[in-house]
Amino acid sequence: MPHDPSPDDTLLARIAAGEQGALSQLIARHGRGLRVFATRYLGNAADADDVVQDVFVSVWRHAGRFDPQRARASTWLYKITAHRCIDQRRRQTFRSVVGLEDIEDDLASDAPGAETTMQARQELSLARAGIARLPERQRMALLLKVVADLDVAAIGQVIGASTGSAEQLLVRARRALRDHMTAADDGRERTRS
């Protein structure tokens, strides 16, 4: 049974017809999420900006290829972004190997408004460090779950894995993050005492 097109499906159809205003609306809907995902995956805001801009240029050119019967628009967008991020990661590694770049976080404006107390700030900072230390596939799966709000099947589609493997990646990522935060807490306790 054909389903009603989602707002994203409609926007992509309008983009395919060459309507630039529809692209602006799609950027307004998904730009931030894609940028957060790419930035936290790559650990570099400038590279993430480059990737996300490139993704929307690709969407502008190839929106006609999107098939709403095969995947949700958000899954399609994150899939393109994930692939570009993997390519960018390879370039980062190459630049790092040949000594052109140091792959360290240089994330701008990290502080959301909710960080009001010292404890909350420390907890968020620990979580960021934990995310950055996760193995790449675990980090990608976790960000797709948390930032993109994709279900496990869609995460599997994006990263090219079965649903079971995607689930396993999420379980391991959460466990590793909890271990990281517990270890950091223990370290702080020892320092105090």
Binding site: R32, R35, S109, L143, V147, R178
Partner: protein, 147 residues
């Protein structure tokens, strides 16, 4: 039913909770559901923390402007053919000219080598013929004999 009780009944009735007799079965299922709920709640709390940690302030308007700028920039260069793009860029034109010059020079060198080798073969052959017919082997006349 607590954790110890659950283990005791598991030893008594087996691993498959669904086959336990009532009322133990209901208690065990309720306990499993509660643990599952707690695990889900813990995951949700962690996910919320990760989301808060991942979020950044961003200028969405700037992203739109940058994307549209890229599209315009690529749109201007798109109709040009590859050859036109090369001809319009001095650096690319210089590089292309240098590559063509190197290819021509290498081609010429290779052709000259082949021709010289051919002449050398002819020279050796003529020398042997001259010796066979009893002609004197004169270095200065060699070229004339050959040609």
């Amino acid at each position: 039913m607590n954790g110890d009780g659950f283990q005791r009944y598991r030893l008594r009735f087996g691993d498959d909770v669904a086959s336990w007799p009532a009322p133990y079965r209901q208690y065990a299922l309720a306990m499993g559901a509660r643990e599952e709920r707690e695990a889900v709640d813990a995951d949700q709390a962690l996910d919320r923390l990760i989301l808060d940690a991942a979020m950044m302030e961003a200028d969405d308007g700037a992203l739109t402007r940058q994307v549209l700028g890229r599209i315009r920039a690529r749109g201007q260069s798109h109709p040009l053919s590859f050859l036109q793009q090369i001809l319009l860029r001095p650096a690319a034109l210089g590089a292309a000219t240098a590559i063509v010059a190197v290819i021509i020079a290498l081609g010429g060198y290779q052709m000259a080598r082949v021709q010289m080798a051919h002449l050398h073969d002819l020279s050796a052959e003529a020398e042997l013929l001259a010796l066979a017919t009893g002609a004197p082997l004169l270095g200065e006349a060699r070229g004339e004999d050959l040609l």
